[in-house]
């Protein structure tokens, strides 16, 4: 079990800036995120779109904002635990214990939840009964290509992931690419390569259709797709791959006994503490009168929360308000001479 001063849940812009505000106060933190990279919505939903309302930064993209935040917190050498979803939060005397889906454990007197609208998870096919095949013959990501050799694979989706994997896996498997409309939004040159393979009979492409059923036995053997005109077709399939992008799911956060208002956590706007002492919430996930879901509001929220975290992590020290421009201690922590 890893011990630290503050466990930050969520590596979106607010979780990242929390590292900074804690770091200049001399507090150690870890950051945990379900995604495979830091940046939250900025990196996942709009990496290339410009943001115009970050104070003193007239314009920067979601990706640039993330890169700059990561650079700003570099001096604190904070560990980022990615691909980890926080599932459980339990009390242990004056500390909180956090457990992830991969059984990693952390302990700290403080938690800052900067979970946005929840953790990003793949969107799934609408047939609920397919769940039982997940991880066996239904997948929403390719972790290990070896699993997809010499198979009959039906790939769903119209974006880059669907096209790229259709092309890649067609080298050693039989691919059917299935999409709900004629237009694909993925790269057109990948599509033309696939169209070529289609002509050669190596790949089959079905559009304007969706999955309707599958043969519901022990193992997946075939699926039925239904076209817009009502026609149906059976496709021999032993692996389904679905690429429908990511969705934000509040998920486990709702089960930690925190006072919630719909999908947000109620906080005290004085220090952004929740109804549980030592658990704070900031950024899009928190709610209080007048809350605005803006990055700049989240930055303010973690600044205040970090003061309360200091008091709890260092009960015998007195918190001293300092400016970064004039505090030698802060400058040392930032590695400036």
């Amino acid at each position: 079990m890893k011990k630290t001063d503050v466990i930050i849940i969520g590596a979106g812009p607010i979780g990242l800036f929390a590292v900074h505000q804690l770091g200049i106060k001399g507090l150690k933190a870890v950051v945990i995120d379900n995604l495979d990279k830091a940046g939250g919505q900025c990196i996942e939903l709009y990496p290339d779109k410009p943001i115009y309302d970050i104070p003193a930064v007239p314009e920067c993209t979601g990706e640039q904002l993330t890169t700059r935040l990561l650079e700003q917190i570099k001096p604190f050498k904070t560990e980022l635990f990615l691909n980890e979803r926080v599932d459980e939060v339990d009390k242990e005397r004056d500390n909180w214990v956090v457990k992830t889906n991969n059984k990693k454990e952390f302990i700290a007197p403080n938690i800052i939840i900067a979970g946005g609208v929840g953790s990003f998870e793949p969107r799934k096919l609408s047939l609920k009964e397919l769940e039982k095949f997940e991880g066996k013959s239904v997948f929403y990501a390719v972790r290990n290509k070896e699993h997809f050799k010499n198979k009959k694979i039906s790939i769903f989706g119209g974006g880059d992931s669907a096209l790229d994997w259709a092309l890649e896996l067609s080298k050693f498997s039989k691919i059917t690419l299935i999409h709900r409309r004629n237009e694909f939004r993925g790269a057109q040159h990948t599509l033309s390569e696939l169209r070529k393979l289609e002509k050669e009979g190596k790949v089959s492409i079905k559009t304007q259709c969706q999955i309707e059923a599958f043969d519901n036995e022990k193992e997946l053997k075939s699926i039925t797709i239904k076209f817009e005109d009502g026609k149906k077709e059976k496709i021999l399939t032993d692996v389904i791959l679905g690429f429908f992008g990511l969705i934000m799911k509040l998920g486990p956060i709702a089960e930690w006994g925190l006072n919630m208002d719909k999908k947000t956590i109620e906080v005290n706007p004085k220090n952004f503490e929740t109804n549980k002492k030592g658990i704070f919430a900031a950024g899009d996930i928190c709610s209080y009168p007048g809350k605005l879901k803006l990055i700049l509001s989240g930055f303010h929220e973690v600044a205040l929360a970090s003061v309360e975290c200091f008091k709890r992590a260092r009960p015998n020290e007195k918190y001293k308000f300092e400016f970064t421009t004039s505090s030698k201690t802060i400058q040392n922590r930032l590695g400036k001479k």
Binding site: L45, V117, S126, R180, R181, Q210, M248, K249
Partner: protein, 106 residues
């Protein structure tokens, strides 16, 4: 004010007045119509405001842009009459519009 009717997948309907200039999504959220999540707050990045537009209204609404269609690909059970309610702006011509919310958004 234009009246908009929101029908859920069971067929229960609610008709409310929505101010001109608001989106069909905002009308639903402000009036606590269930079935629309709108996680991204209308920035066309989540597809959880997905609705089906009553066939007779489809042609009266400006067509979906490509970016909207791309997003609808990711919605739960998209159909031909699928739209994102955050992209439909209410005006007097839409008085009487009927939309259906899907069984779920994710």
């Amino acid at each position: 004010m234009p009246k908009i009717t929101y029908k859920d997948f069971r067929g229960d309907t609610k008709t409310i007045e929505v101010e001109n200039g608001l989106t069909v999504m905002e009308g639903a959220i402000q009036n606590e119509i269930p079935g629309i999540d709108a996680d991204c707050g209308g920035s066309m990045a989540c597809a959880t405001c997905h609705i089906y537009v009553d066939e007779k209204w489809l042609n009266k609404i400006p067509k979906a842009e490509e970016a909207e269609e791309d997003m609808i690909d990711m919605a739960f059970e998209p159909k031909k009459n699928s739209r994102l309610s955050c992209q439909i702006i209410v005006n007097d011509e839409l008085d009487g519009l009927e939309v259906t919310t899907p069984e779920k958004q994710t």
